[in-house]
């Protein structure tokens, strides 16, 4: 009987305490529900299992979002921290939680969205979408997943500040990073510092998914940059002139048809023919008063110039879309018609972007002497070396200094000194013709690419 009584719910009477608590809980649930319905849907895609593969195009041309909890960012972390060491990382995190640098409790207030693309990871608050931070991919050194009981942490080791290096002290980019001095028994020791971005996710699957996505981003980015690095090395070595291509001319009577010297690098041929006047060489060794000294045969010099042009055209074809080639032709046209070298450089830099700025190197032989100094300075300011060394890669590890064996077009330009007044007119004519040829060829290249329907 008593059991029956216990089982029967007595209607109508509710404990006041219960009433208050239930009301509070209902209120919170309601609020959470309202919040959930207010939050926008994430920009996400289905990933192929089991390795969570995503179409690289999404990372390159789009982005993917995942929900996380942002616990905080630790700064001035020693660069030698081993991100694979669970003990080391957890020790740092525990200390940070004790000192309230990191949140202790996981609440909905920590809800954030991580947006991932081949360019950066961006963290924004889930509610309000205020940005927390953005880290370029090249600033990320490592990503770790640590399971601490029920906590699933994703820890991202990054540079201390944008442009700094999160690599260990063996990285030659040391001068870019802040350093932290510490005394050891042997004396002062300089170490690099880095940051740790600490995120929490719901479960192991979510953590692995995030890590694998980042791994794919690294693959794309560093594969692309490695191939670019190879292309730059080939381009730089191939286009380093054996002698300075001066445009002084003392004999405009002979023409050399250099079509025969062209190589067909791909099945299609360039729909143009470049005729160049053979010209006298005015090498750096000559004095301004006697520019007619020749140290190379006219044919060889014309062939070299044609080869450089051919090389540059080939490279443009592989690196630029047809629309971009048209834009390049337009910029070149404007430069010829009076716009400044400065504007030309800036516009070209914008057209090529960061990943293709090395293409500017190929223009060197075609920049007239009066603008060459500005051009060289511009190359230096945008981080493209003066052509005598390999440009740094994404890691900043292949910063080559000028080889003593390499030729110096800058010196060639400078040492040639000012030309005699009578030569300037001929130089200008030759320059005009070369640029006309280049513009025509490039426009034709753009048209032929449109016809072929080639997509870069």
């Amino acid at each position: 009987m008593e059991e029956d009584v216990k089982k029967v719910k007595k209607p109508g009477i509710v404990s006041p305490f219960k009433r208050v608590f239930l009301k509070g809980e209902k209120g919170r649930d309601k609020k959470a529900q309202e919040k959930a319905t207010e939050r926008r849907a994430l920009h996400t895609f289905s990933l192929s299992q089991p390795d969570h593969r995503i179409d690289p195009d999404i990372l390159l041309n789009d982005y993917i979002e995942k929900e996380v909890k942002y616990l905080g960012q630790l700064t001035s972390v020693p660069g030698y921290l081993n991100p694979s060491s669970r003990t080391e990382v957890l020790q740092l995190i525990d200390n940070a939680r004790k000192s309230h640098q990191l949140s202790g409790q996981l609440s909905s207030e920590l809800d954030a969205v991580v947006s991932l693309s081949a360019y950066n990871i961006k963290l924004v608050w889930r509610d309000g979408e205020d940005i927390i931070l953005r880290v370029p991919i090249h600033d990320i050194a490592a990503v770790s997943y640590i399971r601490d009981d029920s906590l699933h942490l994703v820890v991202i080791k990054t540079a201390q500040e944008s442009g700094g290096s999160p690599c260990p002290s063996s990285c030659p980019d040391l001068n870019k990073s802040q350093t932290l001095s510490s005394l050891s028994e042997g004396g002062a020791v300089l170490v690099e510092v880095c940051c740790l971005l600490v995120l929490a996710v719901d479960n192991k699957a979510a953590a692995e998914e995030l890590c694998l996505l980042l791994s794919q981003v690294f693959q794309i980015v560093y594969t692309e940059s490695t191939i670019d690095f190879l292309d730059r090395a080939i381009f730089d070595g191939a286009t380093t002139p054996t002698r300075h291509l001066s445009l002084y001319s003392d004999d405009s009577s002979s023409k050399v048809d250099v079509k025969e010297a062209f190589e067909e690098e791909e099945a299609s041929t360039f729909p143009f023919q470049v005729s160049m006047e053979a010209e006298g060489n005015s090498p750096s060794a000559s004095t301004p008063a006697s520019p007619q000294t020749k140290t190379a045969s006219e044919g060889e010099l014309s062939t070299t110039a044609a080869e450089l042009l051919q090389d540059y055209m080939t490279t443009l074809r592989t690196k630029l879309s047809s629309q971009e080639i048209q834009q390049f032709a337009t910029l070149l046209h404007e430069y010829r018609n009076g716009s400044s070298i400065h504007e030309f450089c800036i516009n070209l830099r914008q057209l090529y972007g960061d990943s293709r700025k090395f293409l500017l190197l190929g223009l060197r032989p075609f920049i007239p002497e009066k603008d060459s100094q500005h051009f060289e300075n511009f190359l230096e300011t945008i981080g493209v070396k003066d052509g005598r060394g390999i440009i740094t890669d994404s890691f900043g590890r292949y910063r080559r200094t000028a080889s003593s064996a390499s030729d110096s077009t800058t010196n060639g330009n400078g040492a040639a000194g000012g030309s005699a007044a009578s030569d300037e007119g001929r130089e200008g004519d030759e320059w005009d013709r070369m640029i006309t040829d280049i513009s025509n060829d490039i426009e034709a290249l753009g048209c032929s690419m449109d016809q072929e329907g080639v997509a870069p």
Binding site: Q219, Y222, T223, T226, I227, F229, L230, D231, R232, A233, I234, D236, G237, A238, T240, T242, R243, E260, E263, E264, E265, E300, E307, D311, T314, T318, I390, D393, Y398, R400, S403, A405, S406, D407
Partner: protein, 194 residues
């Protein structure tokens, strides 16, 4: 035959004749220790036959492999073996620039020969590509130095060789992009052999 046809033929000959330099030359060297006269006769005969019929040596080698039922990756083996020095392709001149050229070429061949082992490890492979890039640049720099410092009656031929090298390097780069897109390693090994 147009100049273009001649050039294409020369390209093809260079590639298929790799078997002669890479596989047979070391065999001849070993045979010379056994019977000098016979080995030299055989060497001269095969070199002449290869010159007249480019690819003959490769065909012979492939047939031997087939006969012995050896299941090996021919391009991989060629690559690994190509790291060895070939006396006929070593420059004899003692000037430092020419010796440096020998060293640069040797270094590049050595790195290329490690590709079959590295290709399946993405990180290691990317590092190898960077090393290859550096080696190519250094080799081309040295070639340019030689051009600049030394006048040679056969300069045009040397420039042509440089152009060939640059062209094949670019082709290698294109093949790499295709590989990273499609994952077909056979094309990479073939491109490296070129």
């Amino acid at each position: 035959m147009t100049m273009e046809d001649t050039k294409n033929e020369a390209d093809a000959a260079a590639i298929v004749s790799m078997a002669l330099y890479t596989v047979m030359y070391p065999v001849f060297n070993q045979l010379e220790k056994v019977n000098l006269s016979a080995a030299q006769t055989l060497r001269a005969a095969i070199i002449k036959a290869e010159k007249e019929n480019p690819g003959l040596t490769q065909d012979i080698v492939m047939k031997i492999l087939e006969k012995k039922n050896l299941k090996i990756n021919y391009n991989e083996c060629l690559l690994r073996m190509a790291a060895d020095d070939v006396k006929e392709f070593t420059i004899d001149r003692r000037e430092p620039e020419f010796q440096e050229l020998n060293e640069r070429a040797r270094a590049l061949k050595h790195i290329l020969s490690t590709i079959p082992d590295e290709i399946h490890d993405r990180g290691g492979f990317l590092q190898s590509i960077k090393d290859i890039a550096s080696a190519i640049k250094e080799l081309l720099d040295t070639v340019n130095t030689v051009f600049r410092k030394y006048q040679h009656h056969n300069r045009r031929a040397l420039e042509q060789q440089k152009k060939e090298f640059v062209k094949n390097s670019k082709s290698f780069s294109v093949t790499l992009k295709t590989y990273f897109r499609d994952g077909n390693s056979a094309s990479i090994k073939s491109a490296i052999a070129e």
